[in-house]
Symmetry: C2
């Protein structure tokens, strides 16, 4: 996919470009000041506290806060994922964080013990959602929707033993894309695999492989299509080799398998899927893998899972499987479990494991010492004068009203150097400097932080000049 790689490479470079900022001392927030408020609160600090906290300050086990630095990276990753979902024509859906407990019961097999229940405080019994798939199926059944292509980005909760080092948490974000409806075979399935490839290529996380689970296909054929177990095992023999489309071709040529109608049909579906993946230019990314036994209870067909072969930081080393970053599959029976009459809506979908991707990108940025801009501020409004707060406030309101992102210091008389340092540290490109003499003459100084160049601009042309500079950069 040279075009895709190129396009997304540019996008990624742009992302990194946006994330980088000139080095300098880190400065959180704005400058300190001593003020009436400060004195008032200082006084209250000296008073003995009624409610001295007697607990450890922490977030619940397996959860975490996201700092502004982390949020910038997360949002860029989510934007790339969502823009891919939109490229494929998906609509956005949202569902509540909790469901009636009975909606989730018996959907997840032995994993059901990991569901967070809410306390019975009167009324309905509720549970936090465990994934976004079951709420989607509930939505389809409840609204009698027979076909829909939707995406959903949201948090889910699982009471797992958190192994933070692997990017596993009890609260985590899922990005799901699903296609529901009766369609011709393998076309939506192929699109889901294509989406996985586009997202993983676009994020430039390194080489990856999409593994298809044979176990479930085998189960499908044996249990649902009546394939004799010995024939299925024969297929299994082939699949243990790993392989792609050529393996399917070999199997279709096998005299024993080709005698069996169901095997031929199943292989026909697989061949069709590989055909479509070949047309999409991604067949070489796919491999069957019998050892892959993943899959939630509700899956009914082919399951696929994307694994990274190495992290970019480890380039040059032996390719290393760092685990699953995306997974998906077919679940044709789930909607029917919610429908009062058992009417089914076949579904296929995928889920992007953004937490793990986020861990990898964060680790990479640490390795390369990347600095991140956590605000988008374009202009800082400064002054070297004392008692010029009113002038600063009037001017900054004008900038805000013109849609320009601007900040100032919440201090009556800040030092000019402090204001300039803050602008530099925060990566703000422009500084407006209001001087008494210039203002009398109708001018304002505009400083470029990168070049440290300053020019005097006519007061009435200031907004236009700033907008011109920002549009050029």
């Amino acid at each position: 996919m040279p075009q895709l790689g190129f396009l997304h490479g540019r996008a990624w470079a742009a992302l990194l470009g946006q994330l980088r900022r000139p080095p300098g001392a880190v400065c959180i927030g704005a400058v300190r000041s001593h003020s009436q408020v400060a004195e008032a609160t200082l006084a209250s600090q000296l008073k003995p506290h009624k409610e001295k906290p007697n607990f450890i300050l922490k977030t619940p086990k397996g959860t975490r806060d996201f700092s502004p630095q982390q949020m910038v990276v997360r949002e860029k990753i989510l934007d790339m994922v969502v823009s891919c979902f939109k490229r494929h024509g998906a609509k956005r859906l949202d569902t509540p964080a909790f469901e009636l407990k009975e909606m989730l019961t018996e959907r997840y097999g032995e994993d059901s013990g990991l569901i967070y229940d809410l306390k019975d405080q009167g009324g309905e019994l509720l549970s936090l959602r465990y994934d976004l798939t079951v709420p989607f199926a509930r939505y389809l059944a409840m609204n009698k929707v027979k076909k829909m292509k939707r995406y959903h980005v949201g948090k889910v909760w699982r009471r797992e033993s958190p192994t933070i080092v692997q990017g596993r948490y009890r609260e985590f974000c899922q990005c799901d894309f699903d296609i529901a409806g009766h369609f011709d075979p393998m076309i939506p399935d192929a699109e889901c695999v294509k989406i996985m490839c586009e997202i993983l290529s676009g994020l430039q996380l390194g080489d990856f492989l999409i593994k298809m689970s044979w176990k479930d296909v085998r189960h499908e054929m044996v249990a649902k299509r009546g394939l004799a177990p010995e024939v299925a095992d024969r297929i299994g023999d082939y699949v243990q080799c790993h392989g792609g489309v050529s393996l399917v071709e070999d199997m279709l040529q096998d005299p024993e398998l080709s005698r069996n109608k169901q095997a031929l049909e199943g292989l026909g579906d697989l061949k069709l899927l590989f055909d479509y993946l070949t047309l999409f230019g991604i067949a070489e990314k796919i491999s069957f893998d019998l050892s892959l036994a993943r899959g939630l209870d509700y899956y009914t067909g082919v399951i696929y899972e994307a694994v990274l072969l190495q992290t970019p930081a480890q380039a040059g080393e032996e390719p290393l499987n760092v685990g699953s970053v995306a997974a998906g599959g077919r679940y044709d029976g789930l909607v029917g479990m919610f429908d009062p009459k058992g009417h089914t809506v076949p579904c296929v979908g995928l889920s992007i494991g953004v937490e793990r991707i986020f861990s990898i990108v964060e680790q990479r940025m640490k390795t390369f010492g990347e600095k991140i801009r956590t605000t988008e501020t374009q202009v800082f409004v400064a002054t070297p004068q004392k008692n010029f707060l009113r002038e600063r406030l009037k001017l900054i309101a004008e900038l805000w009203d013109a849609g320009i992102k601007a900040e100032l210091m919440y201090k009556n008389n800040p030092k000019l150097l402090t204001q300039l340092h803050y602008s530099e540290d925060m990566g703000i490109p422009l500084v407006v400097i209001i001087g008494e003499q210039e203002l009398k003459e109708g001018f304002i100084k505009l400083r470029s932080v990168a070049s440290r160049e300053e020019v005097a601009i006519k007061r009435e042309n200031l907004v236009a000049e700033i907008q011109k500079r920002l549009s050029e950069s």
Copy 2:
């Protein structure tokens, strides 16, 4: 604020422009098809169901799903709110959906009974967050952050009796902006009020007023500054008149009040706030209101609340208070409640009630019969030929890889008319039509859905031509 009004007016018009789509029959998803999968699932429908659902299909009380149509409107509103927060230099923060139960205990006074607790399944006792303010204070104390300007968009949960008609839910979204730190008086407070005005002007919800609660200021002066209650009541007399900066001036002239040092100081702060709001051009939007008694337990200073005076749909009628759409205030003591040594960080902030705003915009769109595009698809790939799925798949992959948003029908042999109708219904601007004869000659037809004009494009120029057309529109 003529400039602000103009800018945001344009933005709003652009939003409505984006939301509108040509009228036509509604068509959810893609076309129907009969396929192997369909037959397979049909067969499974005929089998008796093991787990026939014996529950009512619904979302928990006070919660709801958001359909794609609703999500489009919500996202546009949230985008406008967030872009205002960014314009004021805020960083984004995120915290878990639940906190340790003890973090929330005793923070909300009598409202504490509305907190959702999680079931004790072993381990920590947890509660769903009730707002975004307490988690922010916990974050500041936990990370010893002394100053920060952050925004947070997220869901919160309250076990209230839902009165859906007023846009009140048990799960709802909050958009918070807060400034933490020791600064010179009233500068951050004024910025918070300015942000409220910018957002409400920008969303064009009609005329609004920001009411300041006097009750809490009075409490502040009496309890914390030692103002004699009779002097405070004297102030109260003034405030019952309603009023803005002129009222504060009158009070400063009052012989009884001006004899009292604390009253002078308090009035000085109020005057300062009005001064800054005047510089920001929004003083006429502010009114004191003694009747306003809102305020969560943790507020310590001035509280403000924005109310809409009428809904745009009711223009011409008597102005009607449709209730609060934004609220905020100062809470200087909250961080200290979390800090082991009781160190405080003064804070001021605001919260936008997006659910109510969303209800108003949704109602308005229903009234005006606005149609909404729920996808961003730019090109539909169609064919009049039978057995041309492979050509469609190859071509659409090329579009996707070039970053073009494209869809096709998941059917081997869809009818051309069905494909064109779908494109029209969904508001997709361009259709690529692959014909057998044209393809042999190296051409593809490109159809503009609006004008129904069709032109033949050289196959190799197709992507460039589509990109050109999309950039022009």
